[in-house]
Amino acid sequence: MTDIALSVPTIPEPSPTMRLVRRFLGQKAFVIGAGILAVIVALAILAPLLAPHDPYTQNLALRNVPPFWYQKGSWLHPLGTDQLGRDYLSRVLYGARISLLIGVSVVLISGIIGTTLGLLAGYFGGKVDMAVTFLVTTRLSMPVILVALAVVAMVGGSLWVVILVLGLLKWDRFAVVMRSATQQVRSLDYVAAAEAAGASTTRIIVREVLPNIVPHLIVVATLEAASAILLEAALSFLGLGVQPPLPSWGLMISEAKAYMFFSFWLIAIPGSALALLIFAINLAGDGLRDVISPEGRA
């Protein structure tokens, strides 16, 4: 008896957390995207420790030094210096902070606005839904870049103006997705059960509905963060975004434009950094969606 019992292999039942982790790790796209993103975030946070120089110190005697792999380059400035003699590597590292700050803050602002509107519209329906839909339609009829340009041209550009303008403009996708997700959840049994149990509307929205639409929220947030970072770069490139001497990647690309013909790395380095960040965020977002949505499960 004992022999037989011992011979039965025990299959340990994985905990739900473990299952989730495995599902994430099974998604190559997510792993790669999140990995790159984590590295960029780490570099940005540790910029003051990693950067070889102060990104603002200009040294006109050491201008336009090429990166180390050129003959005239040196390890003192691994990625060379810009047209005012500022260390390029340090500026790229600090630039990551600006991009991430913009991405996160814009998503926070627009996420709060959009999610609130979407939840209200989806939960209450009727007139509230009509009002929110009207707001979304109005917002969608305004091209973001044009409105942002106009506002920034009027009040003058700065980091916070850019964050506010983009935050106040980019809530539409949150509202639309949250609205339809809420509508689905709203008709489910546990919401009805909560209503029957006498829970208040606020409690139902916050405790029953919201947690169940968070996965959608995260996916939209990654997409929006990427698009906000790109918009900031575009605004800065046009001279209407972040102000010099802040090291924004868009601004760096714009300043390097004059040197494009003969010193391509000045434009290629911040350009690749920007591309890599957007790529990573989109990859992570895509992977996240696949992990979360039931259709994506193997």
């Binding site: 006109l60 336009n64 005012l84 490139f237 001497p245 004059a258 494009m260 013909f261 391509f264 434009i267």
Partner: protein, 510 residues
């Protein structure tokens, strides 16, 4: 994503340009005897009285003539539309006019044209853009068909200098009929080139005037056609120059000019110009930046900027550091006795602290050209704790913002309309004219005295005193003179003059 795509396309395009097009082009200009000239700004109007951009001055000198001509090599005055002139009294000049000169539309040049033009520009209600160029004229009267007298409001010693520069002569019958608007739509002058095609904001074509009068001190043009295109983007201009799409560009930044020197089909010519670079500081009663009313803050700003390094590294060959707001060759310009501010960031911080800005302050800065220099200025200010918000504008918009008193700091440049007299520079910014944002009556009175006294010694003394006050009270930040880099197809023969005037009428092919 569109930005990324753009960047990718651009870098691809530049590589293609570098590998493919070198060496193959640049024959186009010579073969059809046309100079294709790209410039980054379009004039608000072609009529020289209604714009104040350099390209306007260039077009003005090619399409129109002046009474007197200053030889750029010797600085000697020669008769152009006038053949002789004499001073009748302190305020009156008499001119004998040239006979047999015709405007491009066939209208004959005579005293009526001079009288009409002078009387037109002297009236403030006609709103000539740069009043400094014309406000000295009181009236003109005709003595006979080829003799006129011009009266100045006050004794005005620099009159001949102005009459050889910005004061061009319009055809009276045509101008009376069409006005400044018509003169912009279909410009008519008497100069060595005539306008044959003009698309505002885009391009203007000048063709050789075959009937240009033989005795003009401007030689008969050899190049048949000047095709001017307004291309605001410097990169496009450079790409066009490399690929042979344009034959002539100017105001190329130092770094780019040095790089273009390596292109075998191109030549780079540079020289100092009369254009001065300075920063204005708004100290008006209602200034949006009250900190600038504090002399210590203004001095801190000057001490913060390393002009020597800027000149050496980013401004370029032919530039020099200035200590007063005028160009050294201009009559009356001097920095004798004026306070000079050395680069001293520690002192700058000290002064800011004394003024109560130990934790720094924030100012707007408006600029319109040489953005890399603006950014260097911003970097220096940042280093002493002055944060700036850059508003990079078109010139007209910047001028408007200054005239409205909305500017805090400006990164300003001024070419004095190539007038070699201090009255054309300092008085424009400190003589209570629209762009004066300091308005010190004492400075104004001294400048007026300098502008209107006949005795050269009195003039010099008044300008010296005015320039000294401006420097001592730190009303502005004098920076440096600007060199100009021309990049042209290598088979063109031309010379760079300090007045920033490419003279197409004397250019030729090698």
């Amino acid at each position: 994503m569109s930005l990324l795509r753009k960047v990718a396309t651009l870098s691809l395009a530049s590589t293609a340009l570098l590998t493919g097009v070198f060496g193959s082009a640049a024959l186009a200009g010579k073969s059809d005897n046309t100079i294709r000239f790209a410039y980054d700004q379009a004039p608000e109007s072609v009529d020289p009285y209604f714009n104040n951009v350099r390209i306007g001055v260039i077009i003005g000198q090619h399409v129109w003539d002046t009474l007197v001509y200053r030889d750029p090599n010797t600085n000697e005055y020669k008769g152009q539309l006038a053949t002789a002139w004499r001073q009748i009294d302190d305020r009156t000049l008499e001119f004998d006019l040239r006979q047999g000169v015709k405007f491009h539309n066939g209208e004959e040049f005579d005293a009526d044209d001079v009288v009409y033009t002078m009387n037109f520009i002297s009236k403030p209600e006609n709103k000539v853009v740069t009043q400094a160029n014309v406000s000295w004229v009181e009236k003109a009267e005709k003595l006979d068909k080829y003799k006129v007298r011009i009266t100045t409001k006050q004794p005005f010693p620099a009159a001949i200098e102005y009459l050889s520069g910005p004061v061009v002569i319009h055809p009276n019958e045509y101008y009376e009929k069409v006005g400044p608007k018509g003169q912009n739509d279909k410009p008519v002058g008497s100069g060595p080139y005539k306008v044959t095609n003009y698309v505002p904001g885009k391009s203007i074509t000048l063709e050789k005037n075959p009937d240009y009068f033989k005795d003009s001190p401007k030689p008969q043009p050899k190049i048949a056609k000047i095709d001017i295109r307004f291309i605001p983007d410097r990169q496009t201009q450079m790409a066009e120059a490399i690929s042979g799409g344009v034959d002539f560009i100017m105001h190329v930044p130092k770094d780019q000019a040095e790089q273009l020197e390596a292109v075998p089909t191109l030549q780079v010519v540079s020289g100092e110009t009369m254009r001065i670079v300075f920063m204005q500081m708004n100290t008006l009663e209602n200034t949006p930046a009250p900190a600038l009313r504090d002399e210590r803050v203004r001095k801190a700003i000057i001490h913060a900027i390393d002009r020597e390094s800027m000149v050496k590294s980013i401004v370029g060959a032919g530039s020099r550091v200035l200590n007063t707001i005028c160009f050294p060759s201009q009559f009356g310009c001097t920095d004798e006795g004026a306070t000079k501010y050395a680069y001293d960031p520690a002192k700058s911080k000290e002064l800011l602290k004394e003024a109560g800005f130990a934790n720094g302050l924030e100012l707007d800065i408006v600029a319109y050209r040489e953005r890399n220099q603006t950014e260097a200025l911003i970097g220096y200010l940042q280093a002493v704790g002055i944060k700036t918000n850059l508003r990079f504008l078109q010139y007209a918009a910047m001028r408007e913002s200054i005239a409205a008193g909305k500017a805090n700091l400006t990164h300003q440049t001024w070419g004095s309309f190539s007038v070699n007299d201090t009255s054309a520079a300092t008085s424009n910014y400190f003589g209570f004219r629209s762009e004066d944002i300091t308005r010190d009556p004492q400075v104004r009175d001294l400048l007026t005295k300098g502008d209107t006294s006949i005795d050269p010694e009195v003039r010099k003394a008044s300008y010296r005193e005015a320039l000294k006050i401006i420097a001592d009270k730190a009303y502005a930040v004098p920076l440096y003179s600007l060199p100009v880099y021309y990049v042209a197809t290598s088979d063109l023969t031309f010379k760079a003059y300090p007045d920033e005037m490419p003279r197409f009428w004397e250019m030729s092919w090698k």
